[in-house]
Amino acid sequence: MLVRFFFDLRAAGVPVSITELLSLLQALEARVAYCSAEEFYWLARLTLVKDERHFDRFDRVFAEHFAGAERVFEKIVAEVPAEWLQMMAERLFTEEERAKAQALGSWDKLLETLRERLKEQKERHAGGNKWIGTGGTSPFGSGGYNPEGIRIGNEGQRQRRAVKVWEAREYRNFDDRRELGTRNLKMALRRLRKFARQGAADELDLDGTIDATARNAGWLDLKLRPERRNAVKVLLLLDVGGSMDDHIRLCEELFSAARSEFKHLEHFYFHNFIYETLWKDNRRRHSEKTATFDLLRTFNSDYRVIFVGDAAMSPYEILQPGGSVEHWNPEAGAEWMRRFTAHFPKLIWLNPTPEEHWGWTPSIRMTQELVEDRMFPLTLDGLDRAMAALRRKVLS
């Protein structure tokens, strides 16, 4: 019964394996959860999902799959001894009350009635047997008793028969297909780190010392080595102004994350596309410019180059000399990009616009071709791929 659910989860991009499915079944067998769809939901999430980023996807599949929750729910309930339910009901309600709490019929009917009543209901209600509220025997609301009830809001240890917690989709923010914060950015950038030992030997190499001492027939032979330092050099080129205004916050976060992560980090700004000059300070962008040729000369090819921009512009700005929106450029932007890719073998372009939209903008496709398909979206997943591309060995 859970096999289809299992495959649906995989299709939705939740990485579940057979081991996890088996442990869920094992847990069900051990009666960790019973008689409650809510508990079943928690248990399934506990065993099948291993990352809060996947919670939202799980919730969606769960809602779709157990829409109505009849099949699974009834099956689980059927395993619970009838006396148990009876006992619980007797403890909580009088004979008369229970008689009133008659079931309303099928799930669909229940939902429909709920919708109608939600429309009708205007004020808070408690007790009684029709309106949504607390206590009482209406099928809706919380804290009451009705065999087919739906719980709305309210967390408490009550009858625990309500479904639908998963529909709140509280974990939407954790899905990694969304953008990211500084901390996540740092973690992703950290993958680029490459440590090398350089400089004065001032750290005791314990393993080396033991090894050398053993070879020395037991007489101490101290070995020292230089400290490990991050040796990666990064050149960050950021698009400012115009269409990038929407993404400023994200770029700021990327920038501050990158700055604390790398020892050698140089940054320059450009507008829409790179031409013959770039600048370091946005306030003095017209007075203090750096010639792009100087840049290519100053930074040798072991720098890793990261462009950040939405690449959304008119195609002329890439293809035509004089196409820039701001000034007269004697050479086309495409020409400059070719020089960059030739000089820096490790180069990528990060694009803050969602990957699905790229196909719609001709200039993005062009830029993608120019950077030899090394354009990645500015999401955690995209950044991962970007860092992998930057680490890849270049064949030359």
């Binding site: 394996s17 442990s23 094992q26 847990a27 051990a30 960790v32 065993t47 291993k50 967390e155």
Partner: protein
């Protein structure tokens, strides 16, 4: 007779889903991986489980320099070397130089223990992979003495993570995973109630209101969490601040008093002050 089900304690409010997670992990003997915002009581959980069920606890706090091997045992080669140069007779038996780690101690416990592996994400990226067999089979091999160490009782393992590093799939597959959600206002009231049972109703309501308002400020770098709220209430009590002072209707005292306990970041304080200022002008 020790308890077998965990439902929270008089000092620790466990939501129903957390309680079930712990019980499922105990029943099936799987490690439980706990994530959540900082300050939501991840580490505390292990201590409370051990207290509530009356089990001994072994805490292994992981640092960036921790190695998986350190949890099992360490061979103290340096002191053996020194002893050998001094001619100490202890040197002949290698067992004298095997230092037990937390995992070994937990395996050796008389009753079923609780083992806390705290902040596993701080360690090297390979760290969890090195513990796969130990966690799966609850045994490991000591090469120096050629003995197999087996757990007497499968420990209840609780692992916490702050998500600084991704954990490997093979490791995750062996764990149960629970994310401690930030408590809603109702749960929060209960949490505060167990810590400060004599708190006045009005003060609590006002403090919670102010607290959630601060939390909802968009763009905060570090949102205040449960532990910050508890600290703040402690301060409010110590300073004997009346509940009215927490209401932000008075434009001069728009910022909650002693907010240093809630906001821990200079930029956040600035941002918050700015927002309040804008709000006031808009009125």
């Amino acid at each position: 007779m020790t308890e077998t089900r965990f439902v929270g304690t008089d000092r620790y409010i466990a939501t129903a889903d957390l309680g079930m997670a712990v019980n499922a992990a105990i029943t099936l003997g799987r490690p439980l991986l706990i994530k959540g915002e900082p300050g939501t009581g991840k580490t505390q959980l292990a201590l409370e489980v051990s207290g509530a069920l009356g089990r001994p606890i072994f805490e292994w706090h992981v640092k960036s320099t921790s190695k998986a091997q350190q949890g099992l045992y360490e061979y103290d080669a340096v002191s053996r070397l020194r002893d050998s140069q001094l001619g100490d007779p202890k040197v002949a038996d290698i067992r004298n130089y095997i230092v037990r780690g937390k995992l070994w101690e937990a395996f050796d416990s008389e009753t079923q223990p609780v083992l806390l592996i705290d902040e596993i994400d701080k360690a090297d990226i390979e760290f969890p992979n090195d513990l796969l067999r130990e966690i799966d089979r609850m045994e490991f091999y000591v090469y120096e003495t050629r003995e197999l160490v087996k757990a007497r009782h499968r420990p209840i393992i609780i692992i916490t993570s702050n998500n600084e590093k991704e954990l490997p799939d093979a490791f995750l597959r062996r764990c149960f995973f629970h994310y401690i959600r930030f408590p809603d206002a109702e749960t929060m009231e209960k949490i505060v109630a167990v810590h400060y049972p004599n708190l006045k109703k009005e003060l609590l309501a006002e403090a919670l209101g102010a607290f959630y308002k601060v939390r909802e400020t968009p763009g905060l770098k570090k949102k205040p969490s449960t532990s910050e709220l508890l600290d703040w209430i402690k301060l409010l009590l110590a300073e004997d601040i009346p509940p009215e002072a927490l209401r932000s209707d008075d434009p001069k005292k728009a910022i909650p008093p002693l907010y240093g306990a809630l906001l821990k970041n200079e930029q956040d304080v600035h941002l918050f002050e700015q927002l309040i200022f804008l709000n006031r002008r808009a009125r």
